[in-house]
């Protein structure tokens, strides 16, 4: 009984998808099922739904469906994708830098190697910011204060110690010639609360995403000391990169991208990559991208895997140094 009804549903859904696809023009991919390792309204959720929206509206994908599966810092969804691998070649899971960090921390036993990395699609650089009334004028000032007495320089972030915001702060201070373990990192449970902490004056600086920082900088609430991009960004040309501001080599990008189940066929993987590549030039994607303030970072296939390996190595080394591994 159960199988019949389910089969019936699939038939209806397929028919619907086909008719929709046919009415516009033939879609490159019939359907994608997005697996979202977090709840509704989070960053992963927005990325999957925004990408799905652009892909379907541009007619590249016939239809997109979404499934939220939170738990275990994303580990639940990873385990699920591996479990259903042989019948899930239409499923893509969204993830981001934390999959590297949490797997290093052994939050979950798997890593990106247990999945099929399809492509990194968007990203956000990190930034160090201070309140607009802060005595710290630039990154050199912060680095100097840190080197003279690190116990007086509290740097906050919207995640627990040992996670992304902390690692970025430690990496920048290390590049600036300081001792990374001396970073006095103050964790908050959300980015908004960390920003409130900065503005209330209880912390000296904040390690956060550039996208979040630029919005508040535009309102003259914060000053961005440096951004972890390889070169200055067009939307904030007066903000120096950390590299030029006195932390040579301090580059970091928090990527978001998509993973297929383990053993995904090369053919299917290439089809997804082609779909993403095509998506970037569509007005539908442009609308979604500007709405969310995302930065395009297309990083497909083997390049993506190589990037993940490099990031894992860099972050892993720093985490060992910080005593988190």
């Amino acid at each position: 009984m159960k199988t019949i009804s389910r089969r019936g549903l699939v038939a209806v859904a397929t028919a619907l998808g086909l008719s929709l696809g046919a009415s516009a023009h033939a879609a490159d991919i019939d359907s994608i099922h997005f697996l979202i390792p977090g709840g509704a309204g989070g960053g992963w959720d927005g990325t999957a739904r925004g990408t799905g929206e652009a892909l379907t509206k541009a007619g590249i994908v016939g239809q997109a469906s979404y499934e939220n599966m939170s738990g275990g810092g994303g580990g639940k969804a990873i385990a699920h994708l591996i479990e259903i691998a042989d019948k899930a070649d239409d499923t893509l899971m969204v993830n981001s830098t934390p999959i590297v960090i949490r797997s290093l921390q052994k939050v979950f036993p798997q890593s990106f190697r247990d999945l099929t990395p399809v492509a990194g699609t968007i990203g956000d650089y990190a930034a160090l910011v201070v309140g607009k009334d802060s005595q710290i004028q630039d990154f050199a000032g912060l680095a100097e204060a840190f080197k003279s007495d690190p116990t007086k320089v509290s740097i906050g972030g919207g995640s627990v110690a040992g996670s992304m915001d902390h690692i970025v702060a430690a990496m920048i201070m290390k590049s600036a010639g300081g001792t990374p373990t001396d970073v006095k990192y103050v964790p908050y449970d959300a980015g908004g609360k960390a920003m409130a902490g900065l503005l209330s004056g209880e912390i000296m600086a904040l390690s956060t995403g550039f996208g979040e920082a630029i919005d508040l900088a535009k309102q003259d609430q914060v000053r961005i000391l440096c951004v972890t991009a390889p070169k200055r960004l067009d939307i904030a040309a007066d903000v120096p990169t950390c590299d030029e501001a006195g932390a040579p080599g301090a580059e970091f990008v928090n990527w978001r991208g998509f993973f297929g189940p383990p053993g995904l066929s090369a053919e299917k993987r290439e089809a997804y990559q082609a779909a993403f590549a095509k998506m970037y030039d569509t007005p539908e994607w442009e609308a979604v991208r500007t709405r969310n303030g995302w930065v395009d970072i297309y990083n497909p296939g083997d390049d993506f895997t190589a990037f993940l390996e490099k990031q894992e190595q860099e972050i892993g080394g720093l985490m060992k140094e910080l005593g988190f591994l």
Partner: protein, 512 residues
């Protein structure tokens, strides 16, 4: 500023925006009524609809959904002891006993009037002071939040009736202990997860509340077969279930409660680190103290003051949370974080200049709140007699319904079947504890406040390089802690003072 308010008024009064207030309030109330689904789910559902709108309209709709959900959340708290939103847990403390005594209609009416008053009074505060209140939002640091949580914890005393002090404290400790399960928010260490992936994110508050309140209540009603006298009494009680009549004495009784709770709730809501849940507990605790020894004893057993206080405060706090959102661009809760994301996607950056640069957005949202609260009242009052009838359903229908909605509500938040198993375990444990006459409310209080208390304390310690001196060196922290100490000690001392005062008065009388 007056110009801005006028622009806002004309924006808010456009037919489309009025329609959106109504749609938002209706959708919010409905979703809020379903146990488990709160404002976050409601707003997340609404976001795709708002894309095509202009920013003011979109925000008006989302705000309507937000306070509508808080408004509607009280219904399931009162009727079936299933708080749909964390902010309405305290509503169940007295709302549910009232409903059980056959005053469901009255309890729902009080909740509606209180929510309306809280929301409206808070909207007035917003209108006259929103831009200048940003300072208040930033006045609190981690040390002050820690002190505020300690003050909140003193509300436990409200449940520590005669001979129950030890039990209330035990349950508070249990709640504090449960709050430590999961990844600790400071160092990222896993605590008491027993290597289980599903426990890494800790125990969800909603899950615990639904299991220990709604599920255990339903199970208890099955366990305790009714005597003929019970059935007779229930029949009488059910006869005027839908009656919403309030005597003028009762109105007089709750009016000052509503006034005080509005102010308290609004101020707590303005703080980005607190919110509606804390506001409702603080108001509940405060009113229990202010009610005096006689009326204070009724709290937890169906006191109308105990119902009005949290219901007013949570709605006032919900409006108050728009202060940090709009004037600083800082979201204090998951719900306002989603709204912030939506605003930014419209190309609008909330912050100190929002009310200058986009007065139509800033003021129209605030003005729409007046209308929204009226709509909520008009929408809800006529429905109350019908909604209250739910309780007249035979037990064989009502209990399975409660079980179904509670389980499904929690499942729909996480889509994780483990949560259902955990809920059943907690519900059974809660039944055992209740058979031992242990109160459940202090456990929830300890659970909510414990996590935040620990987090803020540890953050304060990191910032102050492990020195505890902030406890007495920061005036705001010290003041709140002193109030907390007074609240705890006062009831022990006041009879003594009262006696000596009375004694003196007698002396004076004799002398005169």
């Amino acid at each position: 500023m007056l110009d801005g308010i006028l622009v806002g008024l004309s924006t808010a009064a456009s037919p489309l925006n009025i329609l959106m207030v109504a749609v938002g309030c209706f959708a919010g109330t409905f979703i809020g009524m379903l146990p488990g689904l709160g404002p976050i789910s409601a707003i997340a559902l609404m976001i795709p609809i708002t894309y095509g709108f202009d920013p003011a309209t979109g925000l008006i709709l989302m705000a309507g959904v937000y306070y509508g959900a808080i408004f509607g959340g009280s219904t399931s708290s009162i009727l079936i002891n299933a708080p749909g939103v964390a902010g309405t847990v305290a509503t169940a403390f007295d709302g549910y006993p009232l409903a059980k005594q056959g005053h469901a209609g009255k309890a729902l009416a009080i909740a509606a009037y209180s929510s309306f008053s809280g929301g409206t009074i808070a909207a007035i505060f917003l209108l006259i002071a929103a831009p200048s209140l940003a300072v208040v939002s930033l006045a609190f640091q981690s040390t002050d939040y820690f002190a505020l949580m300690v003050l909140g914890l003193t509300a436990v005393a409200a449940f520590a009736g005669r001979g129950k002090v030890l039990k209330a404290l035990l349950m508070t400790v249990l709640g504090l202990m449960l709050s430590t399960v999961g990844t600790d928010q400071t160092l990222g260490m896993q605590r008491f997860t027993f290597g289980m992936l599903d426990l890494i994110d800790g125990i969800s508050f909603l899950l615990l509340a639904m299991a220990t309140f709604a599920l255990s209540e339903a199970l208890m009603s099955v366990l305790k077969p009714k005597t003929a006298a019970d059935i007779q009494r229930e029949k009488e009680a059910n006869a005027n279930l839908g009656s919403m009549k309030l005597s003028s004495a009762e109105v007089k009784d709750i009016a000052p409660v509503v006034g005080r709770s509005s102010i308290l709730g609004f101020l707590v809501g303005v703080l980005p680190g607190a919110g509606a849940t804390i506001a409702s507990f603080l108001a509940y605790g405060m009113e229990q103290r202010l009610a005096g020894p006689d009326k204070g004893k009724e709290f937890g057993k169906g006191s109308i003051r105990g119902l009005a206080a949290p219901e007013t405060a949570n709605n006032a706090a919900c409006s108050g949370s728009f202060v940090p959102l709009l004037t600083l661009g800082i979201p204090g809760s998951g719900t306002t974080a989603i709204m912030l994301g939506a605003l930014i996607s419209y190309g609008i950056q909330p912050g100190p200049r929002l009310f200058v640069e986009n007065p139509e957005v800033f003021w129209s949202v605030i003005i729409s709140m007046y209308l929204g609260n009226v709509i909520l009242l008009v929408l809800n009052l006529p429905l109350i007699p019908y909604i209250a009838r739910v309780l007249a359903l035979p037990h064989t229908v009502l209990v399975p319904l409660i079980l179904f909605f509670s389980l499904i509500g929690v499942y729909f938040v996480s889509f994780n079947t483990f949560d259902i198993q955990l809920m059943v375990i907690f519900a059974i444990a809660a039944v055992v504890l209740r058979l031992l006459d242990m109160p459940m409310a202090p456990m929830l209080l300890g659970f909510i406040l414990g996590g935040m208390m620990e987090e803020n304390l540890r953050r304060a310690l990191i910032i102050n390089n492990d020195s505890w001196s902030f406890l007495w060196e920061r005036p705001l922290t010290l003041s709140i802690l002193v109030i907390a100490a007074l609240v705890l000690v006062a009831p022990m001392i006041s009879p003594l003072i009262g006696r000596s005062l009375a004694g003196r008065r007698e002396d004076a009388g004799e002398g005169g």
